[in-house]
């Protein structure tokens, strides 16, 4: 095994050394958190800092990478290795890191502008390759750091500083995009439910390969209440549809609503009383074909209709970095370790004198 971490002498903590017991404090850096008061990012940061002591991972083997935007400041607040890079490129940088350091936990923190606009290309290709990274997309449907322009997830007709007469653009559905990009793990959560969010992070972390989690995140300054209709305490039960593997998909008081698959293959919300429990769609995260997950990702047209949250898809696919290492190992096993002197003579050489 060509363990790069060993090769470069940086990996000193073998499995034999027990993971130290840590608390949230150990995972918090000494930097002052500078998001606007009331920002949804605070909840996400807290959820992460409280989850990590629980995961049995090491701070020194944990890396947070980000691009540009409000969410991208996240790594500064984590007492781990971290990089705040450039706009949209974190998945590309993370690919190089994860492909060469399979021993690391690599988290990519991004926003809707960062990964769906300027960095759209890197996002889809990282998902397609199934690089071992966990991507958390803070979706607030607005550009916050540049003070309030519409984003690629803003709804049509949205009035912002840059669209005083309303946006003319069809928004991206981040989950549909991820599923279309062959993502092997796709989930959605929101910043008003730390428990659910923590569970989604835990699941995403456990998944081998690229994990993609969309977090509905409130920007209380430039897009306040964007998700209020579905994530508000009083609305959740009627508007959020929890996806639970192996369970019929149902929601609302006493589970009175449910999801069925119509004759045309599309999914729709129905009254359980009308169709009967047995007609409900049973959620299967591990379905090889992403078609049904795609349908579920489009059940709601926006955060004003009943919207599924939870794990949409979780399938096993070869992980890019491991495959790359495997290929290198196989060649070394077949040919033996490379020898520079032999390499220089691998063509036709001749001797003078």
């Amino acid at each position: 095994m060509t363990d790069l971490a060993q090769a470069n002498g940086t990996h000193t903590n073998g499995a034999s050394v027990p993971v130290p017991v840590t608390t949230r404090k150990d995972w918090s850096s000494d930097q002052e958190v500078r998001w606007c008061p009331g920002c949804g990012d605070y909840t996400i940061l807290a959820a992460m800092q409280m989850l990590l002591p629980d995961l049995g991972v090491r701070r020194e083997n944990t890396v947070f990478l980000s691009g540009i935007g409000c969410a991208a400041r996240f790594p500064y607040y984590m007492n781990t290795y971290g990089m705040h890079s450039i706009h949209g490129r974190a998945p590309a940088i993370a690919t190089g890191l994860a492909a060469t350091r399979p021993d690391l936990d690599v988290w990519v923190i991004t926003g809707d502008g960062d990964s769906l606009s300027i960095g759209g290309n890197h996002l889809i290709h990282a998902l397609r390759r199934n690089v071992n990274i966990t991507i958390l997309l803070f979706n607030n449907q607005i550009y916050g750091l540049t003070k309030g322009q519409y984003s690629p997830t803003s709804e049509m007709a949205k009035v912002t500083k840059s669209t005083p007469f309303g946006s003319l653009e069809q928004p991206f559905n981040p989950l549909s995009l991820a599923l279309g990009a062959e993502a092997s793990f796709v989930a959605r959560t929101h910043d008003m439910d730390r428990k659910h969010m923590t569970e989604m992070f835990r699941r995403a972390h456990a998944h081998k390969g690229s994990s993609f989690v969309e977090i509905y995140q409130n920007c209380n300054v430039f897009n306040d209440g964007a998700f209020e209709q579905i994530t508000g305490k009083d609305h959740r039960s009627e508007m959020l549809i929890p996806l639970v593997h192996g369970e019929p998909i149902r929601f609302g008081a006493e589970g009175k609503h449910g999801v069925v698959r119509g004759p045309d293959g599309a999914v729709e919300v129905v009254s359980v009383a009308d169709v009967g429990e047995s007609a409900l769609l049973v959620h299967d995260e591990h379905r090889e074909n992403p078609g049904l997950a795609f349908q579920l990702s489009r059940l709601s047209r926006g955060p004003y209709e009943p919207t599924p949250i939870g794990v949409f898809r979780d399938v096993d696919r070869p992980e890019y970095g491991l495959e790359m290492t495997r290929q290198v190992d196989a060649v070394i096993e077949g040919k033996g370790e490379g020898d520079i002197s032999a390499l220089l003579r691998s063509g036709s050489s001749w001797t003078v004198g």
Binding site: T2, L4, A5, A7, N8, T10, H11, T12, N13, S29, Q31, R58, E60, N61, T62, V63, L65, I68, P75, Y76, M78, N79, T80, Y81, G82, M83, H84, S85, I86, R89, A92, I93, A94, T95, G96, L97, A98, A99, T100, R101, L104, H122, M324, V328, V331, I332, K335, E337, G338, I340, S341, L343, L344, R345, G347, S348, S349, W350, T351, V352
Partner: protein
């Protein structure tokens, strides 16, 4: 040796010859050019090659746009360039003749595939009259050989379809040329057998064509004699014939080995850089990881991510790809991580001339990022020098924790020359010197790690890849506090950091060799300063000038940022300084700005290398101006409104100042 042994036939001895194979881009010209080169290299000749092909994979057959050519100079002494003008042109069709005939000196030999000179091809090439019959080639010795028909004929009974057999005519030409220049074809026959293993009919057709060409030369009594270019007396040692791109790839592998760092190449296919990816991807036995990214940005981004993780991160590119990588280079400057950006320059702007050479990215390498973001620049000067230059670039990147730009170009990338193999034991050792523990005591007496606490000598910061407990730290593109590396918007700190980053790069001048000046007795008045792939043409031009009894000095810069510490003194030692470049005068601008020396710029941007002859006349012109006594070159050339006006230089370049 079998049936190809030279018989009693008399051969005439030449000290060198320049051959140019030319045909359609689907004719396999590069293949036979390469093969002739290999045979000549093994034979012991010194040589230099210049593949010259269009950007289209298969431009319309028979047209001028589709002509692909391969020029090689072979000699019995050490040579520096593939030669200015061919002594022998092998033209597989009218277009190949038309595209190359203007560059043939009177007396040259022209060997044509006469079968291709029929009306349709003549029209496609734009000939109204057959040049073989209208007397327009009277200055040359023309051999009309029915290559297509003989090639087809010899494969007839092998079951090869005529249309397939016809495709082997390039090997007929190769066989003929091998006879004409007294090289055995056995090695080529073996090569054909292994290359086309499993494709029996193709192999058979090629073999038969090769032999037919060889025997044709021997038996047709068309040629008065064959020629011999004897082995050159090169420095003793083991040699291989190598392209710049292969030397670069091998340099990367060697640098990885010498540093103990795993090599990671993040790249996107682009001409003429892709061969480095191809070569590296073959050598996983060295632990090499190659990543073909979704775009140029991801290529360099992944390389930077790998560098953050403690690998040797490298990206390769050319032309427009360099523009796309600029932002990530800036991040690398801010992160102060080792990173190598290899730019195989090609003609620009925009898509420009993808398969043609140019040196026009020097100023981009210097200044092509926003903000004050200096980084070191290293330039290779010959195909084999790419190996050494690559290792040097890696050394600087690792030692100074900085992105480094290595400049090569299309001419170096694809051109070949014999390379005397270095002793692997003599290669420099590169110490990654990873951070191993805390490096600072904070106010409370705690031992902490400061990612931007610099080494006092090199000003380099510590490199601490993830994995070591206690060294956790965050870096990024925001300005950092000097030492702690925390985000800082303080103006004084920004000024300090800006000057520190600049001083770190400038300080490299103390860590590189002084300017290497080739000045026989130190009495030359004129110094020629070049960089990159002009080395061969300048050195050849200097030899010619010296052969005429004049004195001239030559300095060739490998480090372009920073320059060697003594460069200003060197420039001021000479009365005139000539700076030839395949661009509009980029190094000359830098030299003028840095040293206030009134250098004379000599430029050409034709997508091809300089010729030794034009170098010679440019140097002579400057020497004559000096001898004229007024000490200024204004007498020879002039500038009007900043536009160079070509004075008396009968070259393909412009002298201006």
């Amino acid at each position: 040796m079998s049936d190809t042994t030279m018989n009693e036939h008399v051969s005439e001895v030449l000290d060198r010859v320049i051959l140019r194979f030319a045909g359609d881009s689907g004719d396999g010209i590069q293949l036979v050019g390469d093969q002739f080169t290999t045979v000549s290299a093994l034979f012991g000749n010194d040589l230099a090659t210049f593949p010259d092909f269009p950007a289209e994979i298969r431009a319309p057959a028979g047209t001028l746009a589709g002509v692909s050519a391969f020029q090689v100079q072979i000699s019995d002494h050490d040579i520096l360039t593939p030669g200015d003008a061919p002594n022998v042109l092998i033209a597989m069709n009218p277009a190949a003749l038309k595209a190359n005939v203007a560059n043939l000196p009177p007396g040259a030999t022209v060997i044509v595939n006469v079968d291709a000179f029929e009306e349709r091809n003549l029209t496609k090439a734009g000939y109204d009259v057959n040049p073989l019959t209208d007397g327009s080639l009277s200055a040359y010795t023309v051999y009309e050989i029915p290559m297509t028909s003989i090639t087809t004929e010899v494969s007839k009974d092998a079951g090869v379809k005529p249309r397939d057999a016809e495709r082997s005519k390039n090997f007929f030409a190769l066989g003929l040329i091998c006879w004409l220049y007294t090289r055995p074809i056995d090695a080529t026959a073996e090569w054909i057998k292994s290359k086309y293993e499993g494709k029996f009919l193709v192999m058979e057709a090629n073999l038969r064509a090769l032999k037919a060409g060889y025997h044709f030369g021997e038996t047709a009594e068309l040629f008065e004699s064959s020629y011999e270019v004897r082995p050159a007396t090169l420095e003793p040692g083991e040699y291989v014939n190598i392209t710049g791109n292969t030397a670069t790839a091998w340099g990367l592998i060697a640098a990885a080995k010498q540093s103990g760092l795993p090599l990671f190449l993040g790249t996107y296919p682009i001409t003429p850089a892709s061969d480095i990816l191809h070569e590296l991807s073959k050598h996983k036995e060295f632990g090499v990881r190659t990543f073909q990214a979704e775009d140029e940005i991801a290529g360099i981004g992944a390389a930077l991510g790998a560098a953050f993780g403690g690998a040797l991160g490298v990206t390769t590119t050319s032309g427009p790809g360099v523009d796309l990588k600029a932002e990530m280079m800036g991040l690398g400057v801010s992160l102060e991580l080792p990173l190598l950006i290899i730019n195989i320059q090609r003609g620009g702007p925009s898509t420009g001339l993808p398969t043609k050479t140019e040196q026009a990215d020097l100023l981009h390498a210097m200044y092509g990022r926003h903000g004050e973001s200096p980084l070191p620049i290293v330039a290779a000067k010959t195909p084999s020098h790419c190996f050494e230059a690559t290792i040097e670039a890696v050394r600087l990147a690792v030692k100074y924790r900085t992105p480094v730009i290595l400049l090569s170009d299309g001419y170096l990338a694809n051109g070949t020359e014999p390379w005397r193999l270095p002793d692997v034991a003599d290669l420099p050792v590169i110490d990654p010197d990873f951070a191993s523990g805390p490096n600072h005591t904070d106010e409370d007496g705690n031992e902490v790690f400061w990612p931007y606490l610099r080494d006092e000598t090199t000003l380099a910061r510590p490199w601490a890849p993830p994995g070591l407990a206690g060294l956790e730290h965050r870096i990024g593109g925001l300005e950092k506090d000097d030492g702690s590396g925390n985000v800082s918007y303080d103006g004084d700190n920004h000024e300090r950091m800006t000057r520190l980053r600049a001083a770190k790069i400038a300080g490299i001048a103390n860590d590189i060799p002084p300017t290497d000046v080739d000045d026989e007795d130190g009495h030359a008045d004129v110094l020629v300063v070049g960089w990159g792939s002009t080395y061969g043409a300048i050195a050849a031009g200097v030899r010619r000038v010296r052969a005429k009894g004049h004195k001239v000095a030559h300095a060739h810069l490998v480090h372009l940022n920073p320059f060697p510490a003594d460069l200003g003194d060197v420039l001021r030692r000479y009365r005139r300084v000539l700076v030839p470049e395949v661009n509009m005068g980029q190094l000359s601008r830098l030299l003028r700005a840095e040293y206030l020396v009134d250098v004379v710029s000599f430029t050409q941007v034709k997508g091809i290398p300089f010729r030794a002859a034009s170098m010679e006349s440019a140097i002579l012109e400057l020497i004559r101006a000096e001898d004229g006594g007024d000490g200024r070159s204004d007498a020879v050339t002039s500038s009007v409104g900043g536009t160079p006006v070509d004075g008396t230089v009968p070259a393909d370049g412009k002298v201006s100042h």
